[in-house]
């Protein structure tokens, strides 16, 4: 059993320092696809966090009984069953949002983040720390989704959660919506900018250059 301080660092380090999306390149597909508006981003983030915590718990509880040769298949089956439950739940209670998310809820099954956490942490740790680690990673993922979703909806449609924040021109206001924000390229640019911002603040995350530029000598210059 880890000490409470250990719990806090397991929970908080994936938020920025070890963020799964911006540092470990996990689970990016859905992070970009569902962020055209804040409510879909939030639904997706919540679904993924629930699936992540539950699957980490289940895998961790039965970790001594899974033969390592078929562990991937067992883990995928566990995750897929949980995703089916979440998908049916969303279709029953949030039909509009689940229609707009289309296949992306089902694609949580193949989200590398879920499999990455079960494979690297839950498989070798007791249930409680695994679930806390999963919760931390889920929250780190949610943070990125909410930031990008908020920026895209605010500047793309002038609204947040569908409520107008910046009055747009066609409603008599002054704000011209930036349609590019709703298209695919802007998601890449925003995430690239976010990575740049985080790495400027935390230089230890910067990747080592593959090739060192030769220093220009003073005489030649």
């Amino acid at each position: 059993m880890a000490i409470p301080g250990g719990f806090w660092s397991t929970l908080s380090s994936p938020l920025v320092r070890q963020n799964p999306v911006t540092l470990q390149i996990l689970g990016i597909c859905s992070a970009l696809a569902v962020t055209t508006s804040l409510d879909t981003a939030l639904t997706m983030a919540a679904s993924l966090t629930v699936v992540l915590v539950m699957s980490a718990g289940v895998v961790s509880v039965i970790r001594r009984h899974i033969p390592s040769t078929i562990r991937l298949i067992v883990q995928i089956i566990i995750v897929a069953s949980l995703v089916i439950v979440i998908d049916q739940f969303l279709q029953a209670y949030f039909y509009d949002i689940s229609k707009r998310l289309s296949v992306f809820v089902s694609l949580i099954t193949t989200n590398c983040l879920v499999l990455g956490r079960t494979e690297s942490f839950a498989r070798s740790n007791p249930p409680l720390p695994s679930m806390i680690d999963a919760l931390g990673n889920g929250l780190g993922y949610s943070l990125v989704l909410v930031v990008i979703g908020a920026v895209r909806e605010l500047f793309g449609m002038g609204s947040l959660f569908g409520y107008p924040v910046l009055p747009t021109v066609d409603q008599g206001g002054w704000f011209t919506p930036l349609n590019l924000m709703l298209l695919a390229p802007s998601a890449f640019f925003l995430l690239g900018g976010l990575v740049w911002a985080i790495r400027s603040l935390r230089p230890e995350q910067v990747e080592a250059p593959e090739f060192e530029a030769p220093a220009v000598s003073e005489e030649r210059a």
Binding site: T22, I25, L26, G27, I28, C29, S30, L32, A33, L72, I73, I76, I77, A80, S81, V83, I84, D87, Q88, S102, V103, S106, L107, T109, T110, N111, C112, L115, L183, A184, P185, S186, A187, F188, F189, L191, G192, G193, V195, W196, A197, I198, R199, S200, P203, V206, E207, P209, E210, F211, A213
Partner: protein
């Protein structure tokens, strides 16, 4: 025939898997450092997509779709909620078989693929292909064209990106942008380019 070719082109360019639908981005970003691995990855993704999408379509229509058991006297049975598990099973089996065939008959290619052949099981582009096939109600011939097209689109995108990144290794970028950050910006620019294809299909 024309329709199938149009579907192939649409799947490859206008609805490019990584650049406009954001599917398969993890391998797209992680394995595009060198053109050599990117070519291997592109071929593997195309092959697996072209096999699994029609196969899953057959299974879906014969077993899972609403009313598929009408001949057995159960017209109301709807097993479509099980499609996720069935698709994943088919994909895992196909990847495993591909791996065994390559290992047995083409050991050189098998060695070149290395670790990322088994990883295709959990790649969202491949599962996404099967899920889109169900959502858009493609026929058998259409799903072959769709699987081939989206695989070819993935291959084109990943090979292009790896070519640019190989050159970029010598560029003098700001520290924070080096590596992942710049790759996102590059993918964004390529995505802008591919958006133009969508306009061409629409007009």
């Amino acid at each position: 025939m024309n329709d199938l070719f149009a579907l192939f082109l649409r799947a490859a360019f206008a609805e490019n898997m990584p650049l406009t639908l954001f599917l398969g981005l993890c391998t797209f970003l992680a394995l595009s450092r060198r053109p050599g691995t990117a070519v291997g990855l592109g071929i593997a993704v195309t092959a697996v997509l072209a096999i699994t999408v029609p196969l899953n379509r057959i299974i879906y229509v014969a077993v899972l779709a609403p009313g598929a058991w009408a001949w057995a006297g159960m017209p109301d049975l709807d097993l479509s909620y099980l499609s996720l598990i069935a698709f994943i099973g088919v994909i895992a089996a196909t990847v495993q078989l591909t791996e065994m065939v390559l290992d047995r008959f083409f050991p050189a290619i098998y060695a070149a693929f290395g670790v990322f052949l088994p990883l295709l099981t959990v790649q969202c582009a491949i599962l996404g292909g099967s899920l889109f096939m169900v959502e858009r109600d493609y026929g058998l011939a259409e799903s072959v064209a769709f699987g081939l097209g989206s695989g070819a689109g993935f291959a084109v995108a990943v090979i292009m990106l790896s070519g640019i990144r190989a050159r970029l290794a010598y560029a003098d970028l700001p520290d924070g942008l080096r590596g992942l950050g710049m790759t996102f910006v590059l993918a964004g620019m390529m995505s802008l380019g591919f958006s133009a294809f969508a306009q061409m299909v629409a007009s």
